[in-house]
Symmetry: C2
Subunit: 266 residues, 2 copies
């Protein structure tokens, strides 16, 4: 059982990942794909005159501030556009992909964050009416039924919480899904080679992180990489064999990650 | 087995339909909801600077011209926004709704129209690169698996055809779904009381159409109503017991339609 998270940042390569997914799925492996969509969301939000706003929590983690309008833009970009492109691309490759947003069938349930303490211009502020959450539960049975029947579920990171749809972090959602399905491996693909000691230097790649060294890895991580390391930690704690942070760019990105290219966390 | 189509025109009432769906589903009836989204698509298309274009075929039926950009806008509005609002609303009412666009798991397969002959300013033109299609096949097994497990499938009218995602008509897609599931009734709800002899006069409602009189009904139908009558015809031909064209506005719109309020086609 393999869970793949494909990032949605600018420069993430989709076609090689879909080619690779198709080959792996046709080889008989059960796979779930969780996808991002942040770049598409930013483009759509700007085009609609409701530009994205990112906030940094008091613990130093950056996330998207999601008012109700942003949540709907998020749903349109993730569950509308990105999911359609991925499912269409997989179907064209002969894979019976099936897109679900986390609210569908309660695949993902979350705890709503509600008010978020953020730092802005050196001050701590309380932001209310935030439609973000943290995944607390995965509907394993629904995914199992689909996997048994040969479908490849494609999940958009929304979740149900307090009776509404919430934006949840894709990396950490993928970690929860991988844990619920007891995946052997969680591969997290983005537009960088993995965890870097120096973000400006691809040669500074950290090749292996042992579970005991996760705090050190967390200290190295910058920006979006923090969520990936948090996700890796949560996946391992949930029983996933290993997590690989790999690069989507280039041929066979998933199989390269499975062969150890990238940052292997175990 | 009941299939409900909820239109997406301006003025369609969502909450009473969701209340009614929840009551019917909780009463033990198996239900599939197929939804529209034309008004949301028009708003989004205009906001994104790619305004909608409607064309009239040589046989007099109006439809949306769907280039690739429009297809993506259509997917964002239908599978992203409308589906999220409906599933969220049903989940908040205790119904385990699950949104699928027709491309997911190949729920709907279609024949792509390709080049469409249209009339514009009195001339006949051939429009190419149109991403619309006509549903030819429904993945009944997938819907049956979901229905057996208590889910309420919420379908967005996209379909797979010639390896790509296509825009398909929601009323006719609902008819194909109802036929595939051998539904007792297909209820098509919109923002009018049903088929009217005079669109300006709600009192001119046609209460009953017998199958033998469908040609007459087709001649009365104007604009969007043509597709509903075509859908009704296809549903009856596919073995559906009856079709009711009902009004979404007001309490209990589905149960009122089931009680015969609207235009009953049988």
């Amino acid at each position: 059982m393999l869970v793949v998270k494909l990032g949605g940042g600018e420069g993430v390569a989709i076609d090689p990942t879909l080619d690779d997914l198709a080959a792996i799925h046709q080889g008989g492996e059960r796979v779930v794909l969780v996808h991002g969509g942040s770049h598409e969301t930013n483009l759509l939000a700007r085009a609609l005159g409701h530009p994205p706003r990112f906030v940094t929590s008091v613990s130093g983690v950056e996330s998207r501030y999601t008012d109700r309008t942003t949540l709907e833009i998020f749903a349109m970009a993730y569950a509308g556009k990105v999911s359609t492109l991925l499912v269409e691309g997989l179907q064209a490759r002969g894979v019976n992909a099936l897109g679900l947003s986390g609210i569908d069938g309660g695949v993902l349930r979350a705890e709503r964050k509600g008010a978020v303490k953020v730092q802005e211009n050196g001050k701590v502020k309380l932001l209310r009416d935030d439609f973000t959450g943290k995944v607390t539960e995965v509907n394993r049975d629904l995914l199992a039924v689909l996997l048994e029947r040969g479908f490849l579920p494609v999940l958009a990171p929304l979740a149900l919480g307090s009776g509404v749809a919430l934006n949840v972090d894709g990396d950490r959602a993928a970690a929860m899904v991988a844990a619920a399905l007891k995946a052997d491996t969680l591969v997290i693909l983005s537009n960088v080679p993995g965890l870097l000691r120096d973000v400006a230097d691809p040669a500074s790649l950290v090749r292996v992180v042992k579970r005991a060294d996760l705090q050190g890895a967390m200290a190295l991580a910058r920006g979006r990489m923090k969520k990936k390391v948090m996700g890796a930690q949560e996946a391992l704690a949930g029983g996933v064999g290993r997590v690989v942070l790999g690069d989507s760019r280039g041929e066979r990105p998933i199989r390269r990650a499975l062969a150890g290219e990238g940052t292997v966390i175990e």
